[in-house]
């Protein structure tokens, strides 16, 4: 999580402790939900039954500082206690170590809105599931500095990964690596033929070092792994021996990597490149009625990605139904552009997606369209360049919940006043 954002959002819920992070450009989001069984003891909410569940965020650096030396922690720490004390404005993390030594950290936190990314695995046209090892081994072939990777479901059940090259002109000068995986390497394959997505790989590198095997005990170990294994989700999955599932749809729609087992649910949501090359068909009826006829490259951009965090998967009555209810969004037409690259990498979103694509687009609320930062109409931009789409994060208040008003955090510019 530390690879994604600078702040760690903690939200204790009835169904477990959720830790989340988002990157600064809002194009990558991850959440880890630890079920109550993961812990020896789990109490969410105060002594009064009707106390609203508290959520907060802490500086990632501060939280990581508590668990600074992972190797020695594994040997010396027996028990880890995490307490949220709103009255004292402190998040208390207490480590019970060898020799009876107790380390207590009182971290300052900030109250915050729920951090939610809007996504829905149910609505993804394709999904793939494979042991993390398969994907880790695939990724290792790509150069360390690779920025974007394309995942494609080719003919004959071949799933390929290749590095994404922006310009045709560059293709001849650059080394292109392509790796194909046979369908049978995957546990589940349900892909739209010819589908492909591209997403940013840059900080998602898997380092060759493997993490320690997970013990699935109720010890700080897996928690520490998640915080510290610098390689990211993929290595975490490998270490935990869990398969990764990749849900993807059309280019521009986010790709979702999920990992789950009995006590943990992990979601990693990454923005994908919306393909702006010529054969992109504008989606039909995508509800962006305010938009003037888009040129191809903005077709996807015109969709509003109100990606509501799919807490509905593990949160009852959250009020956020699986199907996105954001007004401007309708499910994409099933036709997927052949150019759409589906990223099949279940990579751990280790780092922030580099935020600034060549032509930075800003959602222009008034026009309901993507505009250039400087206000020029995007539609007039002559040359097509793929843009990464930002995941919009809604600051969603739980219906019925009072919400933490004064510190309302604007997580995304939004044209539609989604609250």
């Amino acid at each position: 999580l530390s690879r994604i954002g600078d702040e760690l959002y903690l939200e204790p819920t009835e169904s477990g402790l959720s830790l989340r992070a988002v990157n600064s450009s809002r194009s990558a989001f991850a959440s880890f939900l630890f079920a109550p069984f993961f812990f020896q003891r789990y109490e969410a909410g105060g002594p009064q039954a009707d106390t609203e569940l508290f959520r907060c965020k802490v500086l990632m650096k501060s939280f990581l500082g508590v668990f600074r030396s992972l190797p020695s922690l594994e040997k010396t720490v027996g028990k880890c206690l995490i307490l949220l004390k709103p009255q004292a404005s402190r998040l208390v993390v207490q480590l019970h170590c060898k020799y009876g030594v107790t380390k207590t950290h009182n971290l300052a936190f900030q109250e915050c809105e729920r951090l939610q990314a809007v996504f829905d695995t149910q609505h993804c046209a394709s999904s793939l599931r494979a042991p993390a090892r398969v994907l880790a081994e695939a990724v290792v072939h790509f150069p360390q500095t690779l920025a974007e990777v394309t995942l494609e479901a080719g003919p004959g059940g071949k799933i390929s990964l290749r590095n994404y090259v922006e310009d045709e002109a560059e293709r001849s000068k650059m080394m292109v690596t392509e790796l194909c995986l046979a369908e049978d390497e995957f546990q589940t394959v349900a892909v739209a033929p010819g589908s492909c997505i591209t997403f940013c790989l840059k900080e998602f590198r898997v380092s060759p070092c493997r993490g320690p095997p997970s013990q699935h005990q109720v010890t700080p170990q897996p928690l520490l792994n998640l915080l510290f294994v610098p390689q990211g989700l993929l290595a975490f999955a490998e270490a935990s021996n869990l398969p990764l599932t990749i849900h993807y749809d059309v280019p521009g729609r986010p790709v979702i990597f999920t990992l789950d087992d009995a006590v943990l649910e992990v979601h990693l949501v990454l923005a994908t490149l919306s393909d702006t090359e010529s054969n992109l068909q504008p989606p039909t009826a995508n509800g962006m009625s305010h938009l003037p006829a888009p040129s191809d490259d903005f077709a996807d951009d015109l969709e509003s990605y109100m990606i509501a965090m799919e807490t509905s998967a593990y949160e009852e009555g959250s009020g956020v139904p699986p199907s996105p209810t954001f007004p401007l969004h309708t499910p994409r037409a099933a036709e997927s552009d052949p150019e759409e690259e589906e990223e099949e990498e279940e990579e751990e979103d280790e780092g922030a997606v580099p935020g600034t694509p060549p032509h930075k687009k800003v959602w222009d609320g008034h026009r309901g369209a993507w505009g250039q930062g400087d206000g020029h109409s995007p539609l007039l931009t002559p040359h097509l360049s793929p843009q990464f789409r930002s995941l919009f994060f809604g600051s969603v208040l739980t219906p019925g919940g009072p919400g933490l008003a004064p510190t309302q955090e604007v997580l995304a510019e939004d044209s539609d006043g989604e609250y």
């Binding site: 500086l59 500082g65 020799y99 009876g100 030594v101 107790t102 380390k103 207590t104 950290h105 009182n106």
Partner: protein, 281 residues
């Protein structure tokens, strides 16, 4: 193999002359107190003491007793001079700092007296290096007047338990607060940094605790930047004794075992920080 230095021209023996088969016995100890460039050397028949001070608040002493040396002779009751410790360490480690088994640097140290440089003869593998380091007027040193009768609280811990704690101290905190008490929390190290506060508690019945003699609850704060260098001494040591007196002065004594199993001591004395405010618990 012992080096023999030429006797001084005047025929008088050197005020201080010492031989050491393994210069590391000296250099590692000096490194444990090396937080300032200059040090005062004080030699008596008992051995050598090297003192480093900072900010009139902290003093570190490294003791290398005469028995550690193969030869140690002091002509007067005591010999004192000030010297550049960084240069001295560079010279002592002139053949490199990596310790290959069986290869040691032999040292002979000679000092003629006031105004003369300290001469070092270092030999390793047949190669001899001669160093002359200028000496200076010794500074007046702080006297913490810390004697055992004034000690209020005393704890002896195995260094193993403290090493990681000291190495990981939250340096964004300005102070290190030490609480020693006959009641809970017995022995607590606290920092108050940017992220929040952190407390490290050692119970009195911990396996790490070799001795626990606390008579009074005391909480004192010390500037963390001054105490941080003591981490070097802690890393070398096997045991540390932590004592405070009625005024809150802190004494840290580190027992260090060298490569040959001989015992040496390094101690740190520190003044409490002036602005003492309520500790955040």
């Amino acid at each position: 193999m012992p080096l023999s230095a030429p006797p001084p021209a005047s025929g008088q023996p050197y005020l201080l002359s010492a031989s050491l088969d393994n210069a590391r016995h000296l250099s590692s100890l000096l490194r444990a107190v090396h937080f300032q460039d200059h040090a005062t050397c004080f030699a008596t028949a008992n051995g050598l003491r090297v003192t480093v001070e900072d900010a009139k608040c902290i003093q570190a002493n490294a003791f290398i007793q005469a028995e550690i040396f193969q030869e140690f002779a002091v002509q007067e009751e005591s010999v004192t001079f000030r010297i550049n410790l960084s240069v001295l360490l560079d010279c002592l480690t002139i053949f490199g700092t990596s310790s290959l088994p069986g290869i040691t640097t032999a040292l002979r140290m000679c000092y003629r007296g006031y105004g003369y440089p300290l001469m070092l003869f270092l030999e390793e593998g047949g190669v001899v290096t001669v160093c002359k380091i200028n000496t200076q007027e010794p500074d007046e040193l702080l006297d913490f007047d810390f004697c055992s009768t004034k000690v209020v609280n005393k704890i002896i811990l195995q260094s193993e338990g403290l090493r990681e704690a000291f190495a990981e101290l939250d340096m964004t905190s300005e102070v290190l607060q030490i609480t020693m008490s006959p009641d809970k929390p017995y022995f607590r190290l606290s920092t108050f940094g940017n992220a929040g506060s952190a407390h490290l508690d050692y119970p009195r019945d911990s396996d790490l605790m070799e001795a626990f003699h606390c008579n009074q609850t005391q909480t004192n704060r010390y500037k963390i930047s001054l105490l941080k260098p003591s981490t070097k001494a802690l890393a070398l040591s096997c045991k540390v004794s932590i004592r405070t007196d009625a005024q809150g002065f802190l004494s840290l004594q580190y027992m260090i075992r060298n490569e040959d199993g001989q015992i040496c001591f390094v101690e740190y004395y520190c003044c409490p920080d002036e602005d003492i405010t309520e500790a955040e618990l």
